[in-house]
Symmetry: C2
Subunit: 142 residues, 2 copies
C-alpha cells in the first residue's frame, strides 16, 4: 500500500486525482499505476484499470487469478467490474468513497448474482493518508 500511496502522490503532482494502485503476485510487485485520465485523455484511465492492463500485458494473460490488488481509494463500478473480469484474488483499498465507490456503496458490484468473481475484500490500511491526499487535492482546486 506504501507503493500505491507513492503512485497517488505522483498523480497529484501531475494534476491528476491522486489515486494509486499496485498488483502483487507471490509477494512480488507486477504493476504500479496512478490515475491518469487527462494526459493521455482516457476516461478509463483509473489507477486500477491501468494497473490491471499493465499486469495482464506483463504476465501475458487476461486472468490474474493469483494476484492481489492494492489501491488507495474504494474502486468505482468500472474498476470493480474490471477487478472481477481479471479474477483478482484479494482487493485491498485504503479510503472508502461514499461518492463514487461501488464496493461498499452505490452499485455494490460484487454483491449481485451476476458477479461471476468476487475477490476477498479488505479496507482501511493507509486510509488516513489516502483520504488526506484527496482532500488536499480538491481543496487546492476549489
Amino acid at each position: 500500500m506504501m507503493r500505491a500511496l507513492e503512485a497517488a502522490r505522483k498523480a497529484a503532482a501531475a494534476g491528476e486525482v491522486p489515486v494509486g494502485a499496485v498488483i502483487v503476485l507471490s509477494g512480488e510487485i507486477v504493476a504500479v499505476a496512478a490515475n491518469a485520465t487527462r494526459h493521455p485523455a482516457d476516461p478509463t484511465g483509473h489507477a486500477e484499470i491501468r494497473a490491471l492492463r499493465a499486469a495482464a500485458e506483463k504476465l501475458g494473460r487476461d486472468r490474474l487469478t493469483d494476484c492481489d490488488l492494492y489501491v488507495t481509494l474504494e474502486p468505482c463500478a468500472m474498476c470493480a467490474g474490471a477487478i472481477s473480469h481479471a479474477r483478482i484474488a484479494r482487493l485491498y483499498y485504503a479510503a472508502s468513497d461514499p461518492k463514487g465507490g461501488a464496493v461498499e456503496h452505490g452499485a455494490r458490484v460484487f454483491e449481485h448474482a451476476q458477479c461471476f468473481h468476487k475477490p476477498e475484500v479488505y479496507s482501511g490500511m493507509g486510509e488516513a493518508e489516502a483520504a488526506e491526499m484527496l482532500r488536499e487535492f480538491f481543496r487546492e482546486r476549489r
Copy 2:
C-alpha cells in the same frame, strides 16, 4: 449498429467473444472496436472500453459529452461505469444480457445516487442478430 455488428463478427472470427462497439459524434463515426481480451491479454478489453479509449485519444479529451455509443450487448458494470466517466450522451445496445449486464440487470450502474452521469438508454435494435452471433459462438465452443 450495423458497423458494431460487423466488428462483433470480426471478433468471433478472431476467437474473441463477438461484441462490437461504435462511437458517433455529430453523425460521424469516431471509433469502432471489437472485444479483445485474449490478444492482447487485457481483462478490460471489452468493445466499449476499447472504443471509448480510441475516441478519447482521437478527440484529445477524456469527456465525450456529445458522443453516442452503439454496442451489440448490454454493457457490464465495468463498461457502464466507463460510459458514465466518459459522459456519453446516448447509449444504444442490441441484445440485453441477464447474465453479465449491469444496465437493466444486476448492479444497474446508472440507477444509483453515486452515478454522476447517466446517458439516455435505448435498446433492442439489432438484437436478434447480436444474440444469435453470441449463441453460435458459445455453442461452437461447448
